[in-house]
């Protein structure tokens, strides 16, 4: 019963000052709307930019790096064991880029439960022969099916069909930049030469656009078998294994473990793409800062309006106190007013924020660099809505607390005598 009385009085006070109340609520609504839309948009963009790199990057790469042996012969000589070895100008020996024993590694990885998938790869340094000019390039020999499953390969094939790589023998999907330079179209035949092998004619079955122009000028894709042919190697020759894990955060430790276990080099995604992580977190930080600033500004609006309301309602406060309402009852009344403004203003803000996100989500955003994107990206993560809701209640509570305390402390005698 009493729980109904306080909101009842709060409601009456609010409706008596309806316009001010609505202005205060509109302030909260505006800031929550902007908060939700801004964070959704910013993080949508973040995810987009991250995916540009991270979706296509393996969590762990296993390969053989060209580097000098870490153990030089002199350190194995027992006679000089305790001496300091001065060695300079060390050169790598005749190492092969091949990943040794790749078949055994593959089957070991398939048995590992942490691994979501493995896509083998052969990289070949080639020259694209365009009339009299040779242009350097890289042909990645890939397993199309795995590459599609793990790295969404087909998303970036803007014309032609990715699966043709396996179905058409001696076929290639050219990077957009490379294709433009060669004036090559689907169905054309191009010539490539590897550093070690003989020239080979390849049929263009598609065009590939990664979104990173520099990459598309050099990179092309072929099947593993075709690439092995370019290099003149047998069909167990692999240069790299690309691994996707179930939990990306374990990549650094897993990479280290595999490097020791398989005696090869490894690289994890965090090390390879550290700069993207930093960029994302800075962008999120900025959008949170802007959003929270908006909320605090609207909090001051509520503070002002409640202060004004309390000043105007001195008589009411005095009567309530004279007829038996305690200071804490009066405080509660004004806190209920503040929280109602926060709650309903915030709720409207969440709805409008969602609508604004939908609108942004439908604005066309076409760029050559991002072939799979057609509208602005929005992240509809529930997290932002929850943060916004909590923040609107906390700021309105704080904004209401001080005026409410002032109201609870007002001395009715002063007001009644003051007339």
């Amino acid at each position: 019963m009493k729980t109904g009385l306080i909101p009842d009085i709060a409601y009456a006070l609010m409706t008596a000052r309806l316009r001010q109340t609505l202005v205060a609520a509109a302030g909260v609504t505006f800031s929550i709307t902007m908060f939700v839309a801004l964070l959704g948009f910013m993080n949508g963009l973040n995810t987009l930019l991250d995916d540009l790199i991270l979706n296509r990057s393996p969590h762990v790469r296993l390969y053989n790096d060209i580097k000098p042996s870490p153990v030089q012969p002199i350190s194995m000589a027992t006679a000089y064991k305790d001496d300091y070895h001065f060695i300079s100008s060390v050169k790598p020996g005749a190492v092969r880029k091949e990943l040794y024993n790749s078949g055994a590694i593959l089957s070991a990885l398939k048995a590992d439960t942490r691994v979501a998938g493995v896509s083998p790869k052969v990289t070949a340094q080639v020259f694209y022969n365009i009339g009299p000019i040779d242009m350097t390039g890289v042909i990645n020999g890939i397993d199309v099916e795995n590459e599609q499953r793990l790295f969404f390969f087909a998303n970036y094939v803007t014309s032609g069909r990715a699966s043709d790589l396996e179905d058409v023998s001696n076929s290639v999907i050219l990077g957009k930049g490379a294709a433009d330079k060669m004036l090559a179209n689907i169905g054309d035949i191009i010539q490539v030469t590897s550093i070690t092998g003989d020239p080979l004619s390849l049929k263009v079955v598609g065009i590939f656009q990664s979104g990173i122009a520099e990459l598309d000028k050099v990179q092309s894709y072929a099947s593993i078998r075709t690439t092995q042919k370019i290099l003149g190697k047998t069909n167990n020759y692999l240069t790299e294994l690309q691994i996707k894990l179930h939990d990306m955060s374990t990549a650094p430790s897993v990479a280290k473990e595999y490097a020791d276990l398989f005696r090869c080099d490894s690289e994890d995604i965090q090390t390879a793409n550290a700069q993207f992580e930093t960029g994302s977190s800075v962008r999120s930080l900025i959008s949170y800062a802007v959003g929270i600033t908006l909320l605090i500004v609207s909090g001051f609006g509520i503070y002002n309006i409640l202060n004004m309301m309390i000043y105007e309602k001195m008589d009411t406060i005095a009567i309530l106190k004279a007829t038996g309402f305690s200071g804490s009852d009066v405080k509660l009344i004004f806190l209920v007013i503040a929280l109602s403004i926060g709650f309903f203003g915030g709720l409207a803000g969440l709805i409008f924020g969602y609508i604004l996100s939908l609108i942004i989500d439908n604005i066309p955003f076409v760029t050559a660099a991002l072939p799979t994107i057609h509208t602005y990206p929005i992240d509809y993560n529930l997290k932002y809505y929850i943060i916004a809701a909590i923040f609107s209640l906390v700021t309105t509570y704080l904004a209401g607390y001080f005026p409410a305390r002032k109201a609870s402390k007002t001395d009715p005698v002063n007001i009644i005598r003051g007339k």
Partner: protein, 228 residues
């Protein structure tokens, strides 16, 4: 303590320090018995209102003792004093203090809703009964600010009565009314005292009014100079 004593004040003293220290109330002691209709008179500035605010528990900054309904007011917290005002004291101000945001009926039952002894429905019935006695039952659904001064004062009396208080206090409740309305309000007080045994303590400037009450306390410079 005699259960017939509704209010007992003993050696009440109060100082104001602003602008310079001076004693507004000096050794004020008296009792009000059940059903007694008491008036306080005195020159302007002699401390009548100040005394009434202390007796109504709104002002706690004084020395001396105060019992209401046999309970010591000095040892009560702010919240407990609010509860005492709610249940045991009905206050009628000189200016018609009603809540403009509410209807007449709601104004009357609000202290009852706070007390929670009766259901809202019973409170409304009771309030209508009082309003009828006061001749303003037709005004019940009206918003409070739409009433005339005399009507407002009668609503305030109905509000003061809603929780069956031990005592009704008034600070010049007729001070702002014309002669006719003053008569009406006085008649109501007299009736409450005579027919219902309601205790009343009313501050007034009107000697004619005071002469008609059961007992009159005359104050001068913060002291009681005569009780009869």
């Amino acid at each position: 303590m005699d259960s017939n004593i509704v209010l007992k004040a003993q050696a009440i003293e109060k100082y104001f320090t602003d602008p310079e220290p001076f004693k507004v109330l000096d050794n004020v002691s008296f009792e009000i018995l059940k059903g007694e209709f008491t008036s306080i008179v005195g020159k302007s500035g002699c401390g009548k209102s100040t005394l009434l605010y202390i007796l109504s528990t709104m002002d706690t900054d004084y020395s001396g003792q105060l019992w209401i309904g046999g309970e010591d007011m000095k040892i009560k917290s702010e919240k407990e004093l609010a509860a005492v005002r709610n249940e045991h004291i009905g206050f009628v101000f000189q200016f018609h203090y009603l809540l403009n945001e509410f209807s007449v009926l709601k104004n009357v039952i609000l202290p009852g809703l706070k007390l929670q002894k009766l259901s809202p429905k019973d409170l409304e019935e009771k309030a209508m009964l009082h309003l009828k006695q006061l001749g303003i039952d037709s005004l019940a659904p009206k918003m409070a600010y739409k009433l005339s001064g005399g009507e407002k004062q009668r609503v305030a009396i109905a509000r003061a009565l809603i929780n069956d208080p031990l005592i009704i206090m008034g600070d010049e409740p007729t001070g702002n009314l014309d002669h006719k309305n003053s008569e009406i309000v006085f008649d109501i007080f007299e009736q409450l005292s005579k027919e219902y045994g309601q205790s009343l303590l009313i501050v007034t400037h009107d000697d004619e009014f005071a002469a008609r009450t059961g007992k009159t306390i005359i104050m001068e410079d913060g002291r009681i100079v005569q009780k009869n």
